[in-house]
Subunit: 335 residues, 2 copies
């Protein structure tokens, strides 16, 4: 039997270790709700606002957990990462905190706010062409030249354990509120976030069904789960969700998904715009398109959750103001 | 000596009682920060996000505290309130929770989202003309006719104690983080919020200097403090801050302000727009104009806070999407 990564998956102990490492540095993000939203959907919706996380997305968790695991010598040689923006900011901010030099390989067409913030956190940015260059090759070459450590975006035990702290926190918050979670939905690109959450909940709340939410034009996880092996997206596929463009599920996240996910829900660009508008109106949250994908799945009825208690992860809020205003304008929520 | 209300002011015990009453119903709102914002301002800024409070503003706290203090008989006869929108939603949502009939007298030109949400919480809305009718007279007549209890927006011990739970929570959060607060700034209309916070901090963190933030066109508190007596705004005064239009400081809030406030900082409409844009970009928060007034005071340099630790209250997020998009468009933050 081929190595599907299962032997290397982190468990609850690794996630708990990550949570202890992150305490006091990462925001314990609030679990928000809106009676008006609940009434419209006919379910109890809890929104875990990772958009309020340091750097504006959950990515800070996995990045800081990984950097804290490096030796003093490795820290001195620095880190390198490739990212469309949120992992970039997460790594840059974690590196700045630990005084580690960071180089980030970013697409030239990344949202301006993500590039500007990554630079503001003190990282060196190396741009590349999303449709021509190999970001992995560029990052590898920098890592080799400088002896720097590559910080992968999702296919890594330390990253998955760090993102899994979202699930750990969520389970503890629900318990404190006396709430049993029927369903949890998290946006999915490479699968580090939903994978880490699924591992945490499998241990802490095994009756909860965990779903991924991904763009319908980049439904690699859905198709991979159906086929039983990792399938890539079309290279030409486009989506408004700039943070959900990974070419295919990671090896470790896919191993987790096969064991622990109830499925993957797909959302269109207009579903996402409407979810951004609903988050604005009902929750007062700024969500980026990818960060609104899980909420979009519920709002657009991709899962029958009548009478259920559903937690959705609002994974990020790094969005340029023009795109945000346009989403509000073309997608006023039904009221 | 004239009665200035001081004998009737609530103290820390009343605020602690309110906090116990609100536990599990009001959101313990997060204290957020942004290293990028701190670097731009040259101070440590903590943002208490009451925009994430139930109903999208702090007003739910005082409303629920007041309604919970009513007798069963008074609850049956219902409540009435007048408000430009946030107190309206706070009272309506608290009344819905306790199954109390609520009538809200609202200006015909209140933001659409505030009117729609107040109605969605089950309240009966009575519109009035802000420049022609007396909302107090309309509300009084309804209260007399129906035997309903008037829930005042700010000049009330129970309301001030409820809003004061923001200060209690803030002080506890700062202590948990090991942070000493040099300055706290809260938006001010009638003064219930900043008054309640000032009372809580006078007891729990007496070295903290507490300031109000108000529109420069409606600087009644600043002028009242200078004169030593309550002075009204010009009836014709206008501001983008639709939630900060009270005609003059309340009796009790002014008594608190004279004893406990370090002063009132005034902000212009453009300061407020820039603060809304900064909250969007750096904190991922949707703030309404009035909710951004305290952040605006800091961002526009109305107080020298170099090297200090400053908490600002982001008091609400109920803003129509057109106004929000316009604020972002005309006020991109410096970066």
């Amino acid at each position: 039997m081929a190595d599907d990564g299962a032997a290397r998956l982190p468990g609850l102990p690794e996630i708990e270790t990550a949570a202890r490492r992150l305490a006091g540095q990462a925001v314990a993000t609030p679990l928000l709700s809106s009676p008006l939203l609940d009434a419209r959907i006919g379910a109890r919706i809890l929104v875990k606002a990772e958009s309020l996380q340091r750097t504006g997305s959950f990515k800070f968790r996995g990045a800081l957990n990984t950097l804290l695991s490096l030796s003093p010598d490795a820290r001195k040689r620095g880190v390198v990462a490739f990212s469309s923006g949120n992992h970039a900011q997460g790594v840059a901010a974690a590196a700045q905190l630990l005084k580690i030099p960071a180089t980030i390989v970013m697409p030239a067409d990344a949202p301006a706010i993500k590039t500007a913030n990554t630079r503001a956190y003190g990282a060196t940015i190396v741009p590349y062409d999303r449709h021509r260059d190999s970001r992995e090759a560029i990052a590898d070459s920098i890592a080799r030249r400088e002896g720097a450590t590559l910080v992968p975006p999702f296919d890594d035990v330390r990253i998955i354990a760090g993102q899994g702290t979202v699930g750990l926190e969520l389970a503890r918050q629900a318990t404190a509120l006396g709430i049993a979670l029927d369903v949890v939905i998290a946006p999915c690109s490479g699968g580090g976030l939903v994978g880490g959450i699924a591992l945490a909940l499998a241990a802490l709340s095994p009756a909860t069904r965990v779903y991924a939410a991904e763009p319908e034009s980049l439904d690699d996880l859905r198709r991979s789960l159906a086929a039983g092996l990792r399938i890539a997206n079309e290279a030409a596929a486009r989506s408004i969700c700039d943070s959900l463009l990974a070419p295919m599920p990671g090896v470790l996240p896919f191993a987790i998904a096969r064991r622990h996910l109830a499925g993957s829900l797909t959302v269109g660009d207009d579903d996402v715009r409407r979810a951004m508008a609903a988050a604005f109106a009902d929750l007062k949250l700024v969500l980026e398109p990818g960060g609104a994908a899980a909420l979009a799945a519920i709002l657009s009825g991709k899962l029958d959750c009548a009478g259920k208690t559903v937690a959705v992860i609002a994974s990020g809020g790094n969005v340029d103001r023009e795109l945000f205003a346009a989403a509000l304008a073309c997608a006023a929520p039904a009221s």
